[in-house]
């Protein structure tokens, strides 16, 4: 990395959406603060943010492993059976000459969610036990937040739903263990994201400098 020119920081909040300069407020847990100018979300305070997020992440990790190890769906037609796993779709797309689509499906349904689970555990774990955060935690946490929109578990589930309906006319479909684990994974990851307070994490990371 190129050398960086040092900068001086100030204790304000700048709205991401309209650049209004706002004073940071002390919020009661469970409430949010909106920008007075554009109405954008500027602060949100959560109950036991780090503890709760970690608990959901551990549950999510177990479900994520189950979802990847066990069969996802069994397809029966005229006495023949086809079992597929969570990763199967991405592999078939790759094999059939659509590597871009295969990678896109793999990353949005498995890769990015995995990076999010492991990355958050990696950063929040030490913070929970009040360890002095390592210098690279900042960039790691920044990366985790940046990949957020690219993890598409719940969208994937709707795709599964549409596929099931489309096939139900011609064949029998039996969801496997991975299917139910994946449903659980969506719930736990939604809960983990809802209890995460990035500003709090940044504050803890910043205080260590």
């Amino acid at each position: 990395m190129a050398a960086t020119t040092p900068t001086e920081t100030v204790a304000f909040i700048a709205c991401h959406e309209c650049d209004a300069l706002l004073h940071e407020r002390v919020l009661p847990p469970g409430s949010i603060a909106r920008c007075t100018r554009c109405g954008g979300l500027v602060q949100r305070a959560r109950h036991d943010s780090i503890d709760r997020t970690l608990a959901f992440l551990f549950a999510g990790l177990v479900l994520f492993i189950l979802a990847n190890v066990y069969p996802f769906m069994t397809f029966r037609l005229e006495g023949r059976e086809q079992v597929s796993n969570l990763v199967s779709g991405a592999i078939v797309l790759w094999d059939e000459g659509l590597p871009e689509l295969g990678i896109l499906v793999f990353m949005t349904s498995i890769g990015f969610p995995a990076l999010q689970i492991f990355g958050l555990l990696y950063v929040l774990g030490p913070l929970r036990f009040e360890q002095r955060p390592a210098r690279h935690f900042g960039p790691v946490f920044r990366m985790i937040l940046a990949i957020g929109p690219w993890g598409m578990l719940e969208v994937y589930m709707l795709g599964v739903l549409v596929a099931i309906v489309k096939l139900s006319e011609m064949a029998t479909l039996a969801p496997g263990v991975a299917f139910w684990s994946f449903c659980g994974l969506i719930v736990t990851m939604t809960a983990a994201n809802a209890s995460l307070d990035p500003a709090l994490v940044w504050k803890k990371l910043g205080a260590a400098r």
């Binding site: 020119t5 100030v10 706002l22 797309l93 929109p149 795709g159 739903l161 549409v162 596929a163 096939l167």
Partner: protein, 211 residues
């Protein structure tokens, strides 16, 4: 808007786009970069070349949107007979099969959302270019909506990936993917990048200058 707060930029400050840290504006020394002291992201008052980047990405997505809709996204081959589906014909088939609510869902995700993103971002770009003063709060809200709904267009791509993995029964039934799917996937990804590269603060900068 008489009691409008001062902007960070006008106060000689800039907010880190990644972590929200507010730092004083200054020029980087030659050969050096200006980075956030907390998260090490490059800091700048506004996203660099936001309008040009968003325009270029939007244009690419709009061009790809045509083959994405013209070419089939998949072909179901059953007992030697093939039936090709485009995005729109897939929705129509669902509706004909009596799955109205699901047809509406797919119509929303695969047709309405991409159109809303393409036209909405074009509108926002134009409004900044032409320095409109009109309803900045509502335009910011529109941006927020565009940013959050984009990912839902992936439903069709995921559906195809599940179908190709499940339906592999030789001549009884197979599913092949079409060129339309690749183009559509590209449209979703590129429009997501386009909305990320647009800087909603530009909407407000115009207001600032006129006050």
């Amino acid at each position: 808007m008489s009691a409008a707060p001062m902007t960070a930029s006008a106060a000689g400050l800039m907010g880190c786009h990644a972590c929200g840290m507010v730092v004083r504006k200054r020029h980087a020394k030659p050969g050096q970069s200006l980075r956030c002291p907390r998260c090490e992201a490059p800091v700048h008052a506004r996203k660099p070349d936001s309008l040009q980047r968003t325009t270029a990405l939007l244009f690419t997505a709009a061009v790809l949107y045509i083959p994405a809709n013209l070419f089939p996204i998949m072909t179901v081959i059953s007992f030697g007979q093939g039936q090709a589906d485009t995005i729109l014909s897939g929705v129509i088939h669902l509706a004909h099969g009596g799955m109205i609510s699901l047809a509406l869902l797919v119509f929303f995700a695969s047709v309405l959302v991409p159109v809303l993103k393409l036209s909405g971002l074009t509108f926002l770009l134009l409004s900044v270019h032409l320095r409109w003063q009109w309803r900045p709060r509502d335009r910011t809200l529109l941006y927020r909506i565009i940013e959050s709904v984009g990912r839902w267009s992936m439903i069709d791509i995921f559906m195809i990936s599940i179908l190709v993995a499940l339906v592999k029964l030789g001549n009884v039934a197979t599913i092949e993917t079409g060129l339309g799917a690749t183009c559509f996937g590209a449209v979703v990804v590129i429009t997501m990048f386009a909305s990320m590269s647009f800087d909603p603060r530009l909407i407000w900068d115009v207001m600032e200058e006129e006050e």
